[in-house]
């Protein structure tokens, strides 16, 4: 479609093409499966259940369960989780099932242990409440240490970037006004035919962050298009293969499905900042993202994909062959996806403290001062930490009352000999919780608060944190 519109124009493309198929294969955490395991004799009203050591939610009646993709195994957490359970069941493997209950007059049993395959389940339906993000952020890390996120492993100081999504191949990107997608749209899901059952959670159409909720018969799915995955220090998830056929009902759709990667932009976001409103550092197109390198300011940064373009292409191709062979029939939606809903942040009735709330003025000195002078300042100002700054007020080091005591005991007089130069710092807009965790991690009791230019804005101490908690 893309080439045809370019070479022959929208009119010709509209006449020639009936359907454009799309596809995506990426980590979709808000996924899971409804299962019904059948009744045991005597019957049990399950209170808690596990499959292969992964806790399974029990949201309904006696033996209806939901396997959440992100729930992790109790012993092998972070490596095996609900996503892997779904993949194993889909692949025909036998799984260990365990359940406990409090026992009632009608459901007397309190324990059940058995082994199950998908054939033993009455229903096994994939039921994903948010899939197929139209596009997604590109992630980088501005911090000084490597961080592990749901966007993968991010190296310090913007040394790499990651992104997700199929760009021009993404289903919702090809029908951005949801003219053909809605409740009842038949789709490719996990290797078989499934359905859109509505908008996904956090559906944000105005910002081009649309999502869908989907359902499909997992018994007919294939592990090629449904894969359990583990993100180090983040947790487990499920890679979901999803494709939507877009019928070319009008010239507008011919034009929209001709969308190119260079026309789809997303933000480069600093995941090193532990806030909801993470700073956006640049705009990049999916063409740049797929090229392997992006530009942020004057820097070229290598970028990795977290979703599989190879599998996304295979999905679009498979869907095309199903349609041409008459195995797949397109459906008109019963109700279209909303185009004007908004995605609200959480209403917070309790305030979360930030560094700025407890930060105090820092007592400073410069490096040319003598140990004796610093000792006096510690006494007169009654502090334990003196922040060392240069002429512009920028951080160069820190000394503690302990450093000074030791220096005096050893007869040292030059401050430069005892300054700690690798200083662990905080930002004024970071949550107090992350700053206090950092203090504990490094076994220290204060963090100078600095801005991006390393200028000292204040200091936050362990005492300030405990005062706040004890309030």
């Amino acid at each position: 479609m893309k080439k045809l519109v370019e070479s022959s124009g929208v009119e010709v493309a509209f006449r020639e093409v009936d359907v454009v198929t799309t596809g995506t294969f990426g980590a979709m955490c808000s996924s899971g499966a409804i299962i019904n395991v059948g009744h045991s004799d005597p019957p049990i009203k399950i209170e808690k259940a596990w499959i292969n050591d992964v806790p399974i939610c029990h949201p309904g009646a006696a033996v209806d369960l939901y396997i959440g993709a992100t729930i992790m195994a109790e012993r092998q957490s972070f490596e095996y989780g609900g996503g892997h359970v779904i993949e194993d069941l889909v692949g025909g493997k036998e799984v260990e099932f365990k359940a406990t209950a409090y026992g009632t007059d009608c459901y007397p049993r309190t324990q059940a242990n058995t082994r199950l395959t998908k054939d033993d389940l009455n229903q096994f339906y994939l039921l994903n409440f948010r899939n197929c993000y139209q596009r997604y952020n590109c992630a980088v890390n501005g911090r000084d240490e490597t961080i592990y996120t749901y966007m993968g492993k991010l190296l310090p100081r913007l040394k790499n970037a990651t992104f997700s999504g199929a760009g021009e191949l993404n289903p919702l990107m090809n029908d951005p006004d949801y003219e053909t997608i809605g409740i009842g749209t038949r789709i490719f899901l996990g290797g078989t035919q499934g359905y859109v059952i509505g908008e996904g959670t956090q559906h944000d159409p105005k910002n081009r962050f649309g999502t869908i909720m989907v359902r499909g018969d997992a018994k007919k799915m294939s592990p090629e298009f449904l894969r359990g995955a583990a993100f180090t220090r983040y947790g487990t998830t499920l890679y979901v293969g999803l494709g939507i056929p877009i019928p070319i009902l009008n010239e507008g759709l011919a034009k929209k499905t001709a969308i190119r990667d260079e026309e789809i932009f997303t933000s480069v976001v600093d995941y090193g900042v532990p806030r909801m409103g993470r700073p956006k550092l640049a705009q990049v197109s999916y063409k740049e993202l797929k090229s392997g390198k992006i530009t942020v300011g004057d820097r070229r940064i290598r970028v990795s994909s977290l979703s599989s373009l190879k599998t996304a292409r295979k999905i679009a191709g498979t869907l095309k062959s199903w349609i041409t062979q008459g195995e797949f029939f397109l459906t008109a939606p019963v109700e279209r996806l909303p185009v004007d809903s908004v995605f609200k942040p959480m209403r917070q009735t309790e305030e979360t403290p930030f560094v700025a709330n407890v930060m105090q003025e820092a007592v400073t000195c410069n490096e040319s001062e003598e140990v004796q002078a610093i000792a006096e300042r510690i006494v007169t100002r009654s502090v334990n930490h003196i922040v060392v700054v240069d002429g512009d007020g920028k951080l160069t080091g820190i000394v503690t009352s302990w450093d000074i005591t030791r220096a005096l005991a050893q007869g040292k007089t030059a401050l430069a000999d005892i300054v700690t130069r690798r200083v662990v710092t905080a930002k004024f807009n970071e949550p107090l919780e992350t700053a206090s965790k950092r203090m504990a991690q490094h076994n220290i009791s204060a963090l100078p608060v600095i801005n991006n230019e390393k200028k000292v804005l204040g200091i936050v101490t362990a005492e300030d944190v405990s005062k706040l908690l004890g309030r």
């Binding site: 294969f25 990426g26 980590a27 490596e79 592990y148 993968g152 492993k153 190296l155 790499n160 970037a161 990651t162 894969r227 995955a229 583990a230 993100f231 180090t232 998830t237 890679y239 392997g292 290598r302 970028v303 990795s304 994909s305 977290l306 979703s307 599989s308 373009l309 190879k310 599998t311 292409r313």
Partner: protein, 142 residues
């Protein structure tokens, strides 16, 4: 070229062993990675195939242990060709071809001394494995 992993115990870590061997044997030894501190050192080097035996012998004579480094292997069955590993490789040993398939160049790979890609793989398809070495393990017996 063959890669070997040298370990220098604490008592000899300060001796200029590698340079002595280079000068004595007149063999180019290429240092790929090195982690050295007062407690000892671990150095990954590359030596020409034909000089492997005498280089290994020379290092062992001076008290270093010589091993075949563990290699990084990608299980193609498990790999979903996402490419999450690509930017973590410091020597660009992992790339994507035109077909969007992830391609791994084992010759470029630094092996398990690096391992930066291993914990970045969501499919857990990357493992460090022992190389099937013949020559060196045979020599170990001596």
């Amino acid at each position: 070229m063959v890669r070997i992993l040298l370990r220098f115990p604490e008592n000899i870590v300060e001796a200029p062993i590698t340079s002595q061997i280079i000068l004595e044997l007149k063999v180019p030894i290429n240092i790929i990675t090195a982690h050295v501190d007062a407690k000892g050192g671990e150095v990954l080097v590359e030596v020409p195939d034909e000089s492997l035996k005498k280089v290994v012998k020379a290092f062992r004579k001076r008290g270093a242990t010589v091993n075949i480094p563990k290699l990084i292997e990608i299980d193609s069955e498990k790999c979903i060709s996402c490419g999450a590993c690509i930017t973590l490789c410091p020597v660009e040993a992992i790339t994507k071809d035109e077909d969007a398939t992830v391609v791994f160049n084992q010759e470029k790979c630094l092996g398990s001394t690096c391992s930066a890609c291993v914990d970045a793989c969501p499919a857990r398809a990357i493992k460090s494995v022992k190389q099937n070495s013949t020559e060196l393990t045979n020599n170990n017996a001596h």
